[in-house]
Amino acid sequence: MDLDFSPGENAFREEVRQFVNDGLPPHIRHKVMNGIHLDRDDHVLWQRTLHQRGWGGVGWPREFGGPGWTPTELYIFEEECAKGGAPRLISFGLKMIAPVLMVFGSPEQQARYLPKIMSAEEWWCQGYSEPGAGSDLASLKTRAELVKSSAGDHYLVNGQKTWTTLGQYADWIFCLVRTDPEAKPQRGISFLLIDMKSPGVTVRPIITLDGAHEVNEVWLEDVRVPVANRIGEENQGWTYAKFLLGHERTNIAGIGIAKRELARLKRIAAAEGRLDEALFAARVAQLEIDLMALEITNLRVLSAEGAHQAPGPEASILKIKGTEIQQAIAELMMQAVGSAALPVGQTGVGPDYAANLGAGYCNLRKLSIFGGSNEIQKNIISQMIMGL
């Protein structure tokens, strides 16, 4: 057993840190460090910056233009980016559809889509959830009917997707659709790539409790999707979907983000004099301790998974604990400033750092809901790991 990173890994960490330090535009860092919403340009700019460095295909193997990092290097990369104030990666393209394309896509599909994900020329979003199909994804109802035509066979897609994160920025959406309504729920689903500019695609914002516009409804009305835009075989979409859900779970603990936010909490608490209160200091201490433990747990899972495997049910442990810690940090930051957190988004009232804490707390309630609610994760742990 050896809990230290190798000299090579430490050098890599230093390299990433330096790159983030030098390459990350200060206005983006400022936003990230202070919990201010990023816009599309911020994300794109950072992705292009990475791409120019040859790091556009984060997490990708070399054969598809990625840097070919080990899981540990990827972990280090994401941790240093988060700590340095870089935006989260635009995961819908990089971490969700890209792995699916690499394994199940045709060479033509790979060549068409992957480079533009890396270069941030095309923004992807996810069309999984539906109003009636959240945790119970397999009950989805969006239908795709195959239409034979001399202009090329295509699907006619009708239905509604929801909780489409940053769908308002997206050029493409990958969708689960039902192609065989007679089959059992998990059969008869296909996996389509749909151009958001197609006639019949409508994006409607969902405003969340923090006043932000992060998620959307996507309505699909008689949308024509060429058969060539289908991943793999018809009615086999559930297989690809499950594969994708596995990959979505890399870096699910968000250690780097939690470390950055914990440091912010400590700065704020110190500035507010709250660390002199034994009760408050103990709460901060508890979170730091939980995070120390989670970091090791994350490294253990990483090391057990080996090189190219998708995360197993152990990732559920990381999801639960990671989101709980992030939520608790946001809650404690808000508590630290007390009623100064009430004037939301107001500068010049309380200290500047107080302005976004209320919205931040509200926004992060999503963490235990999205990406498989923490209740679903506990089902997975008890059933898949413990066999109950």
């Binding site: 508590q335 004037p343 509200c362 923490n374």
Partner: protein
């Protein structure tokens, strides 16, 4: 001992409940919230006509002369409606303070106007950090911060430290020279303001015992406000818990209503436990908030705020969680209940403040025993 309300009290609560159901729907509230002022004087007049603005004013001044129990019933009934108008500040705290801290003349002048809704009086107490308001030669300078509803006040009551170190109470017109009000919306969609005072001319309004030190009167008025806030919280909890039960009964996943899942059932049971313990403490707070024994009063109110603050957090967070994504949407009133419950926890001293105040008193007493 009995926990029943009498006929008058039930009628009062019904009046407010009907108003909320009929005249203060979610859509009207949204329109008011999105308006420039963020509140509605028309609503205020409707409330005046219902008589509920007179609850905190004595009969001698045209009020109903009710106590904290009736105030609590009104606040409880407003809960689910998330009233944006300054009821707590202007119809509960202000008259309580005026009755305790101001001269007979001042009371005669303002209390009737409060009862009829003609004037909105708001008490500004919390000093800005390092900018405490001081009174020098009848002029006030300094900052009051996050004063709820200060920007809709016709008259401001301001606490200030005098040269002799005592705390005095002053009345101030918002439009007076040297007064700047910076209004803004708060997390819960209500309004608050920072009040910047630069040599603002104000009238001292203290009377009798409070002429030299208004601290006790202020504490007493704020304790009445705190008890009222607790009652409001219960109303929101009830609405939140009930809506979540309904959602669990109708929302289906994996072939059954999600309310059939035992883990969610037990979460709901925990929410109900929080709600019922909070309700108990809200009753106790109403009964004790006017107790002249300050130690006992503060002990009870701190206990109530701790119980209710923790319940606010627990119920709000879990109601959103159990609603899933829907709970996160601005479109559902649930997310607005969430935010008001969150704001209530932070108001009138947060859970930690009250837990520590209670603990300090407990330690002193246990060690003296």
């Amino acid at each position: 001992m009995n926990f029943d309300f009498n006929e008058d009290q039930r009628a009062l609560a019904d009046t407010v409940r009907r108003f909320v159901a009929k005249d203060y729907g979610f859509e009207r509230r949204r329109a008011i919230r999105d308006s420039a002022s963020g509140w509605s004087r028309a609503v205020w007049q409707e409330l005046a006509e219902l008589g509920v603005l007179a609850v905190g004013v004595g009969e001698g001044h045209g009020g109903l002369g009710y106590g904290p129990l009736e105030t609590g019933l009104v606040m409880n009934a407003f809960g689910a409606g998330l009233l944006l108008e300054p009821y707590l500040a202007a119809a509960v705290v202000a008259p309580a303070l005026i009755r305790r801290a101001t001269s007979a003349d001042f009371q005669d002048q303002w209390l009737p106007r409060i009862a009829t809704g003609d004037s909105i009086v708001v008490f500004a107490h919390q000093d800005g950090r390092g900018e405490a308001v001081r009174a020098i030669d009848g002029k006030l300078s300094g900052r009051k911060t996050v004063v709820t509803h200060a920007d809709c006040a016709d008259l401001l009551l301001v606490s200030a430290r005098a040269a002799d170190g005592g705390v005095r109470l002053f009345a101030l017109a918002p439009a007076a020279p040297g007064v700047t009000l910076r209004g803004y919306p708060t997390l819960d969609g209500q309004r608050a303001a920072d009040l910047l005072l630069d040599q603002a001319t104000a009238t001292e309004v203290g009377a009798g015992d409070t002429a030299n030190n208004a601290t006790q009167a202020i504490d007493a008025a704020l304790d009445i406000g705190l008890a009222a806030l607790c009652a409001e919280a219960i109303g929101i909890m009830e609405a939140t818990v009930a809506a979540t039960v309904d959602y669990l009964k109708t929302r289906r996943q994996f072939g059954q209503p999600i309310g059939r899942f035992q883990a969610l059932q037990h979460r709901m049971a925990d929410m109900l436990l929080h709600q019922e313990q909070s309700r108990s403490m809200s009753y106790l707070a109403a009964m004790q908030c006017t107790n002249p024994d300050q130690k006992l009063r503060q002990r009870t109110l701190s206990a109530a705020k701790v119980t209710i603050g923790q319940a606010c957090r627990f119920i709000a967070q879990n109601a959103v969680q159990l609603h899933g994504g829907m709970g996160m949407t601005d479109e559902l009133i649930l997310s607005h209940w969430f935010k008001r419950l969150t704001a209530i926890e932070m108001s009138f001293g947060d859970t930690d403040f009250h837990l520590q105040r209670f603990a300090a008193q407990l330690s002193r007493e246990a060690q003296a025993a």
